[in-house]
Symmetry: C2
DNA sequence: CAATGCTGATTACGCGTGTAAACCTAGAAT
DNA sequence: ATTCTAGGTTTACACGCGTAATCAGCATTG
């Protein structure tokens, strides 16, 4: 299960979001972000197939694609990688970074508070 | 100022850490992680020079390299990019992710608490 | 001064990526 | 059955990356 590329991950996002899609649906879904031609989407899908990240099942004359790689796993690997590379493996410095940058929204703060409270008493 | 690659960023880490270094010092500094030949390091340094991420000043027969790109900026861009790509631009879900993963260390938690308290009353 | 040897610059090379044109094939339409 | 066509598959190509061999300039030394 080789690592998936930037362009490929855009398609994965859509697949994770809606569970499944045809090539054309995918193309439409990313149309505003990318202007990919149909062939481009197909090629990317094939690479994802080869990497084992998705599977395809025939449906009449076309295919329906579904994720095999779990979003959770991908997210975990990407997050871990960034945190390790830039923040010495610890989460807090990243939050601190955003805090200094004043890039924490009100709802972010609310949720962080909630999370911490949860962790403090629960479990 | 094009984006810097994975291998290049390893050299940047060292430069940010010590402020400056020669090619050979860099090679030693990353020796255990990479086994790069001297030529490899030189080539990477040249790419960084072309990208404007570092500068070099002659020092006798060799060069001394310093970062031009600020670590802060790099970190900000990378973090922002990940958060946007995977967590819809918000920080809390990332922390939640690590929390679910039980990947928050004791000191992470302590610091998060401290950060939140700080934001709550201070400023 | 010529030979030797650092150190940086240039060139190379295979591989993944982004993007797409060209090609192929099983159904649909006639 | 023959042709048309909506998909999918193969091939292509330029570019960046990881890695390094090779080339070139200049300083040290015999």
């Amino acid at each position: 299960m080789k690592s998936i590329s930037e362009a490929e991950s855009i398609l994965m996002q859509v697949l994770w979001q809606r569970g499944e899609a045809t090539a054309e649906e995918l193309r439409e879904a990313v149309a505003e972000r990318t202007d990919w031609q149909p062939g481009t989407v197909k090629a990317l899908l094939n690479r994802l197939l080869n990497k084992g990240a998705i599977r395809a099942e025939r449906e009449g004359r076309r295919f329906r694609y579904r994720p095999v790689l779990e979003r959770e796993d991908y997210v975990a690997e990407q997050s871990r990688s960034l945190i390790d590379r830039l923040f010495d493996g610890r989460v807090a410095p990243l939050v601190a970074h955003f805090s200094e940058q004043k890039a924490l929204s009100k709802s972010d703060l609310d949720e962080l508070r909630r999370l911490i409270r949860e962790l403090d008493d629960g479990e």
